[in-house]
Amino acid sequence: MVSLDTQHPKCGAFDLKDVSVAYGKEVALAGVDLRIEPASVTALIGPSGCGKSTLLRCLNRMNDELGDVTVGGTILLDCEDIYAHDVDPVELRMRVGQVFQKPNPFPMSIYDNVAYGPRTHGVPRSDMDALVEDSLRRAALWDEVKGNLKKHAFELSGGQQQRLCIARALATTPEVLLMDEPASALDPISTQMIEDTIAELKSDVTIVIVTHNMQQAARISDRTAFMLRESMDRPAGLIEVGDTRIIFTNPSDKRTESYITGRFG
C-alpha cells in the first residue's frame, strides 16, 4: 500500500491522511493517504465510481455543498488543515480553483466571466484589465478573444469556453487547480489545446486532474494515482501512487497493471 513520502521534510501542496468520504451512512471512499507535490501535475485515474471526483471535491470542500456528506481524516493544504473549524470554505476556494467536466461559463461577457472571481474578492477595478488579460493569456485564449472581450461567453466554441473556464479559475490566482475531466466533452483539437495549457501552467500552479483517458494521464501528468472500488460492499480506495512513467511501465500492484493494460474498466 501507499505511504506518505517521508523523505520530504516539508509539506506537499496537499497532504491527505486516512481520508474517507461518506454520503449519508454509505462510506464511498476510505483510507486515502496521498501527497500532491507542488508545481506538478497529478492525475487521478481509475474506473467509473472509484471515487476520483469525490476525492477531488474534498480538496476545495465542494462536497460541503452537496449536503449530508461527511469527510474524515486530515487534508492539509500547504501544512494547513482545510477542515479545521476556523477555515472558511469560501477563502479556501480562492486558493484552490476548479475546472469542471462540462464547460460552464456564466451567461455574461468573456471579460465579466474572468473578472467574476477577482470582483468577488474585492480586487480593485484599476487592476482588473491587467488581471483579465494575464489570466486569458495563461489559459491560451487571449489571442482568440482579445479584440472582443465584451462578446457573450456562450458565443465561444466548446473548447474556447473550457479555456475561458480555466482563465476564470486562474484569475483568483489559486495555488492549486483541480480539473475534473476537463477535456472529456471536447473534440481532439480542443483537448490538445487544454493539454498544452496544462503543461504551461504547471510551473506555477499545482494541478490535480481527474481523467478517464489513460493516454491523457500518461501524456500530461508527472505523478499518477490509481483508485479502485473493488466491490460495492466496500468503499473505494487508493491503490497506488507514484511517478507516472513508473505507474504506466512498471506498476507495483497487480490491479494497477490490469487496469492500465486495459483488462478492466
Binding site: 476545495n60 465542494m62 455543498e65 449536503g67 469560501v90 477563502e91 479556501l92 476556494r93 480562492m94 480553483g97 476548479q98 469542471f100 462540462k102 460552464n104 461559463p105 456564466f106 451567461p107 455574461m108 467574476y116 472571481g117 468577488t120 474578492h121 457573450h152 456562450f154 473556464c165 476564470r168 479559475a169 483568483t172
Partner: protein
C-alpha cells in the same frame, strides 16, 4: 398474423380519432378566446373616447378615470408587497431549503394559499388589515389583501424559474470562492429573471382584475382620486360589477368600456413583458 394486422389497424384508427379529439379541444380554446375578444371589442369600442377615459363617473356621459387610477394604485401596491416577499420565498425554497418537514410545511402552506377562494381573501383582509390593523378601507388594505392572493403565484414562478438554471453554474460560482448569496445575486437570479418576471406579471394581472378581495378592503362605488395609500379608491373590476348589477339606469356602455380598458391594460403589460423576455432569452440559452 391476422390478429396483429387487426391490432395495427385498430391502433391506427384510434390514433386518427385521438388526433381529431385533442385537436378539436385545442381549436375550441382558440375559438373561445377569439369570441371573447371580438365580443369585448364590439361592445366596448363604442365607449372609447378621451372623455370616457379621462372623465369622472358623475358627468354625462360618464367617465372612468378614477377607476383606472385606482386599479393602477392597487396593482402597483400589490407588486410592492408581493414581489419582494414572493421572490425571496421562491429563492429560499429553490436555493436554501433542504428536504424535510419544515420545507414540506412551507410547500403545504403555499398550496393552501393558492387554493383559498378570492372572496375569502377579501373577508380575511377586511378582518385583519381594515379592522384589526385599522388601515381602513384603503389602497393599503386592498394591496396587502391582493398581495396575499398573488404570493403563491409569484413564489411558484420564482422557484420554477430558478430550477431551470443548471447546477453547473452554481458550482462554478461557489468554486470561485463566491458565497451562496453572491452566487444567487450575480449568476442565478439574472439568468432566471425572464422566468420570474413572466410569472410575476401573470400573477399581478390576475390581481388587477380581482373584485372580491378589494370590495371589503379598498374600494368605494364613487370616490375621487386617492391622494395617499390610506385613501379608498375606485377600481375597474368593482366598477364593472356595480354598473352591471345595481345601476339606477342600466349603462352597458360603461360596463363594456371598462371591461375593455381593463383587458387592454393587462394585455399591454403582458405583451411588453413577453417582448422583453424574448429579447433577454435570445442571449441566454442552455
Amino acid at each position: 398474423m391476422r390478429l396483429s394486422v387487426d391490432r395495427v389497424r385498430r391502433a391506427r384508427a384510434v390514433e386518427a380519432v385521438m388526433k381529431v379529439v385533442t385537436g378539436s379541444a385545442a381549436a375550441g380554446v382558440v375559438l373561445t378566446a377569439v369570441a371573447l375578444l371580438v365580443y369585448l371589442l364590439v361592445r366596448g369600442l363604442p365607449a372609447m373616447n378621451l372623455r370616457f377615459l379621462s372623465g369622472l363617473p358623475l358627468q354625462d356621459p360618464p367617465g372612468i378615470w378614477p377607476a383606472i387610477v385606482g386599479t393602477v394604485w392597487l396593482t402597483v401596491g400589490t407588486a410592492v408587497f408581493a414581489l419582494p416577499v414572493g421572490i425571496a420565498a421562491g429563492i429560499y425554497l429553490s436555493e436554501y431549503a433542504k428536504r424535510g418537514r419544515r420545507t414540506r410545511l412551507i410547500r403545504l402552506s403555499i398550496a393552501n394559499m393558492a387554493g383559498v377562494p378570492s372572496v375569502v381573501y377579501g373577508l380575511f383582509g377586511a378582518a385583519l388589515f381594515v379592522m384589526m390593523l385599522k388601515l381602513g378601507l384603503s389602497v393599503l388594505s386592498g394591496a396587502l389583501t391582493l398581495a396575499c392572493l398573488t404570493l403563491p403565484v409569484i413564489i411558484t414562478a420564482t422557484e420554477e424559474a430558478l430550477r431551470q438554471i443548471p447546477a453547473d453554474l452554481r458550482q462554478a460560482s461557489l468554486a470561485l470562492g463566491a458565497t451562496r448569496w453572491r452566487t444567487i445575486r450575480k449568476v442565478v437570479l439574472p439568468a432566471a429573471a425572464p422566468g420570474i418576471v413572466t410569472g410575476s406579471i401573470l400573477g399581478l394581472s390576475r390581481a388587477a382584475g380581482e373584485t372580491a378581495p378589494i370590495m371589503f378592503t379598498a374600494v368605494f362605488f364613487l370616490t375621487g382620486l386617492p391622494s395617499s395609500p390610506l385613501d379608498k379608491v375606485m377600481a375597474l373590476p368593482y366598477h364593472i360589477f356595480i354598473m352591471a348589477t345595481q345601476p339606477v339606469k342600466p349603462q352597458p356602455l360603461v360596463v363594456w368600456g371598462s371591461a375593455l380598458v381593463l383587458v387592454a391594460g393587462i394585455s399591454i403589460v403582458n405583451i411588453a413583458a413577453a417582448a422583453w423576455r424574448s429579447r433577454a432569452r435570445r442571449k441566454v440559452r442552455w
